[in-house]
Every structure is written in structure tokens, then in C-alpha cells.
Symmetry: C2
Subunit: 319 residues, 2 copies
Amino acid sequence: MHALILGAAGMIGRRLADALATQGDARSLTLVDVVEPTAPAGFTGPVVTAAADLSVPGAAEAALIGRPDVIFHLAAIVSGEAEADLEKGYRVNLDATRLLLDAIRNAHAAEGYRPRVVFTSSLAVFGPPLPGVIPDDMILTPATSYGTQKAMGELLLADYSRRGFLDGIGLRLPTICVRPGKPNKAASGFFSGIIREPLAGQEAVLPVPDTVRHWFASPRSATEYLLHAARIDLGALGLRRSLTMPGLSATVADEIEALRRVAGDAAVALIRRAPDPAIQAIVETWPEAFDTRRALDLGFKADASFDALVELHIAETQG
Amino acid sequence: MHALILGAAGMIGRRLADALATQGDARSLTLVDVVEPTAPAGFTGPVVTAAADLSVPGAAEAALIGRPDVIFHLAAIVSGEAEADLEKGYRVNLDATRLLLDAIRNAHAAEGYRPRVVFTSSLAVFGPPLPGVIPDDMILTPATSYGTQKAMGELLLADYSRRGFLDGIGLRLPTICVRPGKPNKAASGFFSGIIREPLAGQEAVLPVPDTVRHWFASPRSATEYLLHAARIDLGALGLRRSLTMPGLSATVADEIEALRRVAGDAAVALIRRAPDPAIQAIVETWPEAFDTRRALDLGFKADASFDALVELHIAETQG
């Protein structure tokens, strides 16, 4: 297949390009992002890389010029930025998605083009009040503009799929853990930080109580979800084209005990508790666990344990 | 208050303007539609009427020039037209709503303007599979582009309310019955037709079985819902700014028996059964009944009985 990745320079986009190249899914690749992505090492098929702002009219048409069989739409600005800059958030996260789907619709009308579209949505489509375990048919009540934009994208994807312009699926990815790289200022940063920094011999700050519970997947699982979504038959989805992906429901205490089992007390001693009421207030509105039976029935598989997430991070950073 | 009605030339818009004028809610009125609306008879306050296409940039700014305290946004194209003409549907039902909310946002940023916005949503935000009684926290899975556009409008209204640009509420109105006027080609037309035509001494066609159940409100109740939504405190809504309005859950058989009690066997004899599999297939996907406790708690009140709907229609058409 010819695969197009929009948002190919991001952490998941790069892994996805590598996986498509090495697992034999892709015959050719088109990689697009706001900064020009790099082609995956060792891939011998044709690769096009391009820097483009998909919220500019015409950019989606250019990205679709090779009529990719599968389009991975990962391009977005993150929650904090979408909240700080409302116009940019709606432009990048909603308008660019609509321009993409409309470019596909026009190609469908002209020549019957009907690609698979794999859209990364977010747990941020859910907002309080939330039950402890969130069912697959939970109403979407986003508590952020980012979540609103993702929920609107889900609706558009479902409508365009229903009308036959494309064959779409939206994946609400769990929080990625352990996220590689440097600490960042995301409110969720500590979930990865309290594992990643101690494993690198550095102090990590924990701003919330040990009892905080959240929903996690490894970077590898997130990549596998995207690949799986490109391969499976979507006939069973009906009108509900977006799914919460399987994950691990774990507390901060569960994280710390996994770190202790894998890396010992010395690593755990590098976690410094520094309660931050502002971060605590944000995190309290986040979901804790999901009933993902629809995704499980379709063959999406969660990580085995939080220990496995820690071990995977060690293997990837030290391999 | 100064009230603005967008969609003021429609059946509900005209009733709403009359009610605002006669019940003393409005000090002044701005009435906008694609065709110029008529001012309500007997109203002595200032009235501005204007024909405008709200999907054209600048039209919303012009409509807001008097900084109305309450904005009733009823303007939309109907389900059948939005399905037949995708671009027009998204332009009128989504883009015009966004242009309106963005015009309010800009006035908020410039001068702290923060009006009440009453948005008419639709039961079409719900799609199959549906339970017999639909709870308030049912996920939105529209089965039409119209329902998709309304669901996207609900999300935008909620986000802009959360951010404090406006104080919004979305009302999912029940199917209006008895809808006055001539028969039309809407798939739902028969629900009113089998009452309205026999009361006028004319034959009515019934394309579905007597067992079909649906959710109804009188034109008077729909108008009262809009007025009530403009008056009440919305602090209790939280993130969930859109509500299903109370209604009567009735079968076609219930309708027929109400007609018989009010107008006798001769009226019922004018109903001609002519099963139409196409209409039946559409109607089968529609909701049957709702648990509307959130709206009831806020003081929205359903009609008393289907007999009352029939009697109201007689009173209004013969008064």
C-alpha cells in the first residue's frame, strides 16, 4: 500500500513510519508535517517528504496527489496550546481536518477515490462528570477546546464514512507512557517523568498524590493500534467510527511499584513529592479507566503490565 | 431585553417573535432570516427586520450590531436538504453557527459582551443503535449530515460557553405535532398529517404501521421551551449545555385514538393506510422516548396529552 502520514515528524509519526517500512505494510510513503519529516532508515520504496501547513487551502490536495490507500491523520496542536490560542486550535485541529476530508470527498466525487483514514482522537473528548470506568457509549463532553476539536473531527469522520467518501476510524489513544525525550510542561508530563528521569539517574517531580489513576499505553502499542486500524475490516463499526483504545489503568502508586520492581529502591528514591494544586485540579478531571470491549473485539491489544512499559522504555533507550 | 431571532421567518421563529412581543419579554426585537421576516403585530417597541445569509462573513456582525441580550439561533436547513446538498448543509448549519459564535467571541474580547444564546438542536443528533428510552447522557451518533452538523454546533456552543464568551443552551426539540400548514415531503410529515388533514376534512396517507412510536411537542410548547431557556439560570448545566426537551412519547395508534376522542370516527376514517417501505426504514432509526429529567429539573414542561395536542391545533386553526 501507499501510506500517507500527516504529522509524520512527531513522536508517534516517526515510529509509525518506521513500523510501516519495516513490517512490510508500505510499498511507498508520503510523510508530511509542519517541519519536513525524515524518511525511515533502510526503506527502499519511494518516499516523498514535505513540509506543509494543512490548514492552508490546497495543502491537503497536494498531500493526496499520490492517492494514498491509507491516510494516517496525526497532525494536531496539543491541548495546552489549543487552550492558550483558540484560533490556532480550531484552525489546525478542526479546519485542517475538514480540509483534508473535503479534499478526499472531492477526489471521491471525481474518480471514486475512497481511502482508509485513521484519525488520532483523544481521551480529551470526555469530561466530567465521569464514571470510574467509562463505557464505549459514553457521551462526549470535552472540558477543553482541544477535546472539542477532536470530538468535532470524530463526528465529521463518521459522517463522511457513512456517506462513503472514505473508510474512517478514529482512535482515542491512551496517555503514552513512558514517553521518551526531555521533560515538558504538559500537565500529564509527570506520569512519564517519574519513570524516565529516575531510570536516567535524575530527579523527577511528582505533583499529585499516589492515588491518582489514569489510562496508559506504551509508544509501541500506540503505533501498533494505528497499524492495526489500517489493516482491519471496519464494517462492524456502524455509525460509531471512533473507539477508545485499550490501555492499562494504573495509579501513581502502581507506577512507583513497577519502577521499584524493575529498577530498585534507588530509582524510586529519585522521585520527589512536590504537590501542585493547579496540576492536581486538572488531573482530577481526567478519566481513570475504560471499558474498551469494542476495540478488544476488533483485535486491539493493551500492554501486559506497567512493568512491561518500564522494561520497554529501558530496552528502547539502552538498546 | 433586546432579543435577536435568527430564522425568524420560520414556523417557530414567527411564534417566538409573537410570544416575546406579547408576553413582555422583549423591549426591542431584531428579526433575521433568508427572507425578510415580518414584525409581530401590536408590538410597540423598536423592531429591526433584515434578510441575510448568515453563512456569508460579516452577516453575523451586522445582526449583532444592537448587542442583543438574548440570541435565538433557529436558522438551519432541514434534514432532507442537508442530506441532498452536503456543501449547503455544512455551510448553513455549521459554518453559519460558527461565524455567529465567533462574532460574539470577538465582541466579547473587545468589550466584554456575553449574551445568552439559545440554539435549536435536534433529536437527529441521536442514531442507531438506540435504547427504547434514551438517557440524558446518551452518546451522539447522528445518522444524517444534518444531525452531524447539529452535534458539532452543540460542541462549539459548549466550548464557547465554558470559555465565557457567551452563555449558551442547546435545545433538542421533539418533533412538532400538530405542525400547521400544508403537507410537505418530510419523512416525518405523516405524524402531523394524520391529524391535520382529517380535521380539515381531507384524506391523509399513513405510510407506517400503527405501532411506530415517536417523541412529540406542540408548537406552543416548543415556543415556551425557547422562552424558558432565555429566562433561566444556566449555572447548573456544567459542560453539558444541550438538553433533550420534554415531550410526549406516542404511537401512531395513540395519535389515532386521540383524534377519535376529539373529532370522532368520521375523522379517523379519512386516514388511508399506504405502507411505504422507504419511509418505514427511515422512521425505524428514529428515537421513541427520552428520559429528560435534566430538562424537567430546570422547569421545562411537556404537553399534557396527545388529546391536548389535537385540541390545541383545532383551537389555533379555528380561533
